[in-house]
Amino acid sequence: MPSSRGYKEKNILESFCSIWYNSLVIVFQGVSKHYSDRGVALEDVSLQIDPGEFVSLAGRSGAGKSTVIKLLIGEERPSKGRIFFGQYEVNKLNDGELPAFRRHVGVVFQDFRLLPAKTAYENVAFALEVAGRPAREIAELVPQVLDMVGLGDKMKNFPSELSGGERQRVAIARAMIHRPEVVIADEPTGNLDPFHTFEIIKLLEKINELGTTVVLATHDREVINNLERRVITLDKGRVIRDEKKGKYILV
């Protein structure tokens, strides 16, 4: 009975996510990124993402989507401009402060980035372990979240024993486990077939419904058109369109 299962999942998700109030605002102020070898990746980008929004970053490969995300999680620093992430000014965080900051953000990648030597359970648990959470809390939370993404019965499998869709669900569970205010997904469906793509986007929408800001970078026209949410379109490092209920349009 798929409907009752959906209901149960939603319930778990709700009890898991509705505990905090999301008030985190993301701001880009005149951000540019130049690479010495590849030239301009971003040019004077300013934008604001409000709490609870579901924002898609659209654009061709090389338009600057990944750069926005790398700057957002502090993997790279802007050449110019400032980036605010709630109380953090991301471009000013040093190596010692970055880990704590990253525990406020959940990140999902195209290539899943799971630890191959750890099981699905351990991969998700790892995000809590690095934050120094007590073992009992971990033992309680991890199965809940894996249940939520529909992998309750595959907790002991290693990533190599899971399908692409399942791996991405493990990655989403890991991104969700510490209840981040923001989930950032960089081409999360790039390696998946349409069926699994649909599943993953549904999962992200569910997460968003419960108050988490979602930033989704994708070049998948279908995905963006079906979402009917805010779309920021990038081209050659600049924002060329920002619409509340956007479509995937490239001129």
């Binding site: 970055l98 880990p99 790892f126 120094g132």
Partner: protein, 302 residues
């Protein structure tokens, strides 16, 4: 804090088991390096024993005029003992010299008769001086030839053997210094080989290090488990290498014993096994730790 430390150990131990092949390969290389290391220690023991056995054969003897009284000789012996270069001074009295001489020539009738025909003991009392270092015989010799001692002394063997003594002294010094150079050089090579092996092992983990950081692991939590792994590798390699090297020494020992008398290398190995094990453990664990530390370091920079 405690949770983090216990997790570091837990992750380290788990990685160690799950990366079974990598661990095995790394331990194999480290074992070879440590076998070389213990081989070098033993090489040091052998060269030292060889140098000692040469050094033992070097000495100078001072022969006193027969009219020098025993008291004077003994006071000279005391003054010699007071010199910083001198290791030991043995006194042979005229009577002892005669007794030894007669014993050595007891089969020779002519000499025995000639000796007993004499009224006085023709043999001279002597002091046998050993230096702490063979290169110091020159200094001892010049002390003995100083003017205030000259009236008592008949001959000093140094003058006759000077060439041989200086040559032996050079050999002893060269063997010792050369041994050290070889040891330091080869230990360096072993260390570099291990360092590179661990660097490669961690290079193959660079993606994981990136993932850990994205998930929010602090630098110490990323690095910690690799250091624990490095310690495991070093510790196990120390045990394995000692087990492998024991039969080699047992086999080689009698041959070396013929070459350098009084040297039983297996016995040395056996009686110093705990000490050797600790050296190996220290070398293995330290190099494992530092290699891991530096190898991970470069992936922790933004």
């Amino acid at each position: 804090m405690f949770t983090i430390i216990s997790r570091i150990f837990h992750f380290g131990a788990k990685n160690f088991w799950r990366n079974g092949w990598l661990s095995t390969a790394t331990i194999a290389i480290m074992t070879l390096a440590l076998m070389m290391f213990v081989g070098l220690i033993m090489f040091g023991v052998v060269t030292h024993a060889a140098a000692n056995s040469i050094q033992d054969k070097i000495d100078i003897s001072v022969y006193f005029n027969t009219n020098t009284s025993e008291d004077q000789i003994l006071s000279i012996q005391q003054s010699l003992k007071g010199l910083s270069q001198v290791a030991s001074v043995d006194y042979t009295s005229q009577d002892q010299a005669l007794a030894t001489f007669q014993k050595n020539h007891s089969s020779d009738q002519t000499i025995s008769q000639a000796i007993s025909a004499l009224d006085t003991n023709p043999l001279e009392a002597s002091l046998n001086v050993k230096a702490k270092d063979p290169s110091e015989y020159g200094a001892i010799n010049s002390y003995l030839t100083s003017a205030n001692l000259a009236p008592y002394i008949d001959t000093i063997s140094y003058a006759q053997n000077q060439d041989v003594i200086t040559r032996l002294a050079t050999i002893v010094r060269d063997v010792n210094v050369g041994g050290w150079v070889v040891i330091v050089f080869l230990a360096l090579v072993a260390g570099l080989v291990v360092f590179n092996t661990i660097r490669l092992a961690i290079y193959s983990n660079r993606d994981e290090i990136g993932i850990m950081r994205v998930v929010g692991a602090s630098n110490s939590l990323v690095r910690g488990p690799y250091i624990v792994e490095g310690v495991f590798w070093g510790g196990i390699a120390a045990v394995v290498s000692l087990i492998l090297v024991a039969p080699v020494f047992w086999f080689v020992s009698p041959y070396l014993g013929q070459f350098i008398p009084g040297l039983n290398i297996f016995q040395y190995f056996y009686t110093h096994i705990i000490q050797l094990f600790l050296y190996q453990l220290l070398f293995g664990v330290l190099i494992g730790m530092f290699s891991s530390f530096w190898a991970v370091q470069r992936y922790l920079k933004n």
